[in-house]
């Protein structure tokens, strides 16, 4: 635990230096594309006098100065499967983004969707020392959480305090300075496979970049796609990516659950490829141009040239109706949504007061999904696009960039995590100076 703590703190320190330097890169390692944004931080925008809140909800402290995407290689289900290939793809994206920004970036924050995220809700409780709650008390209460046995070979990716309770009052977001006796905390712990993290870190290191942070793409997609009141009242964000579909539930502006389904748009493509006997590239093209999930009478008459370069005239001149294509795509999309539904049910989403669901990610752009999704997920479904951030090129404003944009928001105003607080003295591995100071404070 301490090792992880040190690691995460090191990353946080790196992020701070990057912020001071003013330039940081965002890397979204996806299954179908790898996106890289270069952010420049100009410091907080000056508050205008007429208006209480700055533009873009105060999130305009940064500006995207470089953006590039490249077709992803060597990534399956949101996890790196071929290191060399992924490294090359990352290099391509980073170089293009650097070229656009005309600036060298050294620090990068990465996000990935796979690695089997698992959510844990943990709670801790502690007696407040000396009247009012101090930062040290918060550190202690977080340290007092009973960490579940999340298994060998897994690492904590996020550990965010979502709720503080002081005596009988709950729902505090920041209890510092308040007077009370017992301080309790609810913490959300997200663990992922350690190997995946290691692979990502290795790839980024091979590209001469410093890893300054990691985030789960389900989380970052939620940050960018859910509007503020949805985050406050409770909503689920479903990030339908290429190889994995991320699910995250937000409540009171905190993520309280995250999961990922190892199904995505690439499976729809491979279904089309298999069903129509065409190569994957053509299947992808057919999907994006003619795809859909709700068939109408018109679709029976709309014939699609499949094309191909097999050399066999008969094979290359085949035509299918759009209805057939929809007939191939729809079951797979339904399967994905049902899987998501199952995860939401397992998380107890139906007990939340608000049942808002936001679909985002590249695969959410299938026409007709807004008709299909409510049948499976419930009535309050909308297709979401990420927040507009300053300087983002038009090509990168689509739903496919939800997690990249969310990651830049995460970089600009990160959520407090467990490792942002100092380890309380009694948890320190050795009797350090801090321990001595505490002893003096207590006894003198």
């Amino acid at each position: 635990m301490t090792e992880l703590y040190e690691q995460q703190r090191a990353m946080r320190a790196m992020r701070k230096t990057a912020m001071q330097r003013g330039v940081i890169a965002i890397l979204d390692i996806g299954t179908s594309k790898i996106g890289c944004l270069v952010l420049r931080f100009d410091g907080q925008e000056k508050m205008r006098e007429t208006d209480g809140i700055g533009s873009l909800a105060g999130q305009s402290g940064f500006r995207v100065i470089g953006a590039a995407t490249t077709r992803s290689r060597g990534v399956r289900f949101g996890e790196i499967s071929a290191m060399q290939e992924t490294e090359r793809a990352i290099r391509t994206a980073v170089q293009a983004a650097q070229k656009m920004a005309n600036l060298r970036v050294d620090h990068v924050i990465a996000t990935f969707s796979g690695a089997g995220p698992r959510s844990y809700g943990v709670a801790g409780e502690v007696e407040v020392e000396g009247g009012s709650v101090t930062e040290n008390d918060i550190a202690r209460v977080m340290a007092s959480c009973d960490v579940p046995d999340y298994g060998e070979g897994r690492e904590v990716l996020h550990a965010q305090p979502v709720n503080f309770a002081l005596d009988h009052r709950s729902g505090l977001s920041d209890p510092r300075g308040q007077v009370g006796k017992r301080l309790a905390v609810d913490m959300h712990l997200l663990t992922v496979d350690a190997d995946t993290i290691r692979n990502v870190a290795y790839c980024i290191k091979r590209c001469d970049l410093e890893l300054a942070g990691l985030a789960s793409s389900s989380y970052t997609a939620g940050l960018s796609s859910l509007v503020e009141d949805e985050q406050e009242l409770g909503a689920a964000c479903i990030d339908m990516g290429g190889g994995a579909t991320g699910v995250s539930i937000f409540m009171k502006k905190h993520m309280i659950f995250a999961d990922s389904v190892r199904l995505g748009g690439d499976h729809v493509t491979s279904d089309i490829s298999k069903g129509l006997q065409v190569p994957l590239a053509i299947a992808e093209r057919i999907k994006t141009f003619y795809g859909g999930v709700v068939a109408t009478g018109m679709d029976d008459r709309e014939m699609i040239e499949i094309g191909g370069d097999s050399g066999d005239w008969e094979k290359d001149r085949r035509r299918v109706s759009r209805a057939e294509l929809i007939g191939i795509m729809r079951p797979r999309v339904e399967e994905i949504l049902e899987e998501v539904r199952a995860r939401l049910d397992a998380a107890g989403f139906d007990h939340l007061p608000s049942q808002q669901i936001v679909l985002t990610g590249g695969a959410s752009q299938i026409p007709g999904l807004d008709g299909l999704a409510p049948r499976i997920l419930g009535q309050q479904v909308r297709i979401g696009r990420p927040l507009r951030v300053q300087g983002l090129p038009q090509a990168a404003t689509g739903a496919a960039f939800a997690s990249a944009v969310g990651l830049s928001l995460f970089a600009a105003c990160p959520q407090d995590e467990w490792w942002d607080f100092d380890i309380p003295a009694e948890r320190y591995p050795s009797k350090s100076l801090r321990w001595a100071v505490k002893w003096f404070k207590d006894n003198w």
Binding site: T70, R91, Q98, L103, R104, D208, G311
Partner: protein, 308 residues
């Protein structure tokens, strides 16, 4: 021509054949290309390559060129040639010298002192030096030397005006009002119109001397000159070897006193050799030898009469 073999009976190539797919170029930059690009984006390397390296190359090339003495010589020669071609242009040629405000003698002297071979380039003229040389002449009070448009070396001269003649030892000098030497004279008679002073240090007090000469208006025809005595006071010398010895302080007033006495009692017409005004409160007279004897004779007559 065609070889007969199995190929003859082989199926001909179909007219539309699939071209073998070329391996797509890898869009990813190689590790080194990536590193070089990143290095190029680093401001330090960028400025080094864009500014530092060209500067270094230019300086090195220039240094190498200059280090060769032949090249250095060629550069100097070329520079001199360019300079010469500019200097020798007709716009900069000076053709003659014009001297204003000088008497013919001085004019000739200046032309002799500052010999210039006309025509000459104005760059070659040392105007400062010429001015100093000309100003070193005693007769010159001020001089300005400049090159006038039209290629004329203009020398404007103001000459000192001789106000007095000073005789020391064997020399006779002309002095101006301030006591500065103007020129030498061979004979006093050449400038009979000017008053004469003599004695060591007389040139230091020319102003006083002139004031005395002005004040001695009524006896001007008789005035022969002024003599500086002991470098501190004046003697007024008249004809018939008469002298008026003036005090060091306020000599003009003393002279006026003497003139007033002369007016009233014809003092100077009498047989007196010196009128000593060195103590103005007690003027003293020295009479001539003959006059003294005459006086004694007259007195003895008086006494004799009185005694007889």
């Amino acid at each position: 021509m065609q070889q007969i073999g199995a190929d003859q009976y082989a199926r001909p190539e179909p007219p539309m054949t699939r071209k073998p797919k070329k391996a797509k170029r890898d869009p990813a930059p190689s590790r080194w290309a990536y590193r070089v690009h990143r290095m190029w984006l680093t401001p330090f390397y960028r400025s080094m390559l864009r500014v530092g390296l060209p500067t270094f190359l230019i300086l090195t090339a220039a240094g190498w060129y200059i280090s060769n003495p032949t090249n250095r010589f060629a550069i100097a020669e070329k520079a001199a040639e360019i300079r010469n071609s500019v200097e020798s242009r007709p716009e900069f040629t000076v053709k003659l010298m014009a001297i204003d405000g000088a008497t013919p003698v001085v004019d000739a002297a200046i032309r002799e002192m500052v010999p210039v071979d006309f025509p000459v380039s104005s760059f070659d003229l040392d105007l400062e030096g010429m001015q100093q040389t000309i100003a070193a002449l005693d007769v010159i009070e001020r001089v300005s030397v400049r090159v006038r448009p039209g290629g004329v070396l203009q020398v404007d001269v103001a000459e000192r005006e001789p106000a007095i003649i000073w005789r020391t030892g064997g020399n006779i000098d002309l002095l101006d009002r301030t006591g500065h030497r103007v020129a030498s004279l061979t004979e006093r008679q050449v400038r009979a119109d000017l008053p004469l002073i003599a004695g060591q240090g007389a040139n230091e007090a020319v102003g006083e001397a002139l004031a005395l000469i002005t004040a001695s208006g009524p006896i001007a025809p008789r005035l022969r000159g002024l003599v500086r005595v002991g470098e501190r006071r004046w003697d007024l010398v008249l004809d018939r070897d008469q002298r008026i010895m003036l005090p060091e302080i306020a000599p003009v007033e003393a002279l006026e006193q003497v003139l007033a006495l002369d007016e009233a009692q014809d003092l100077l017409d009498r047989d007196i050799t010196h009128i000593d005004m060195r103590n103005p409160g007690r003027p003293t007279l020295r009479m001539a030898e003959q006059a003294v004897e005459e006086l004694r004779r007259i007195r003895s007559l008086d006494r004799g009469e009185a005694g007889q």
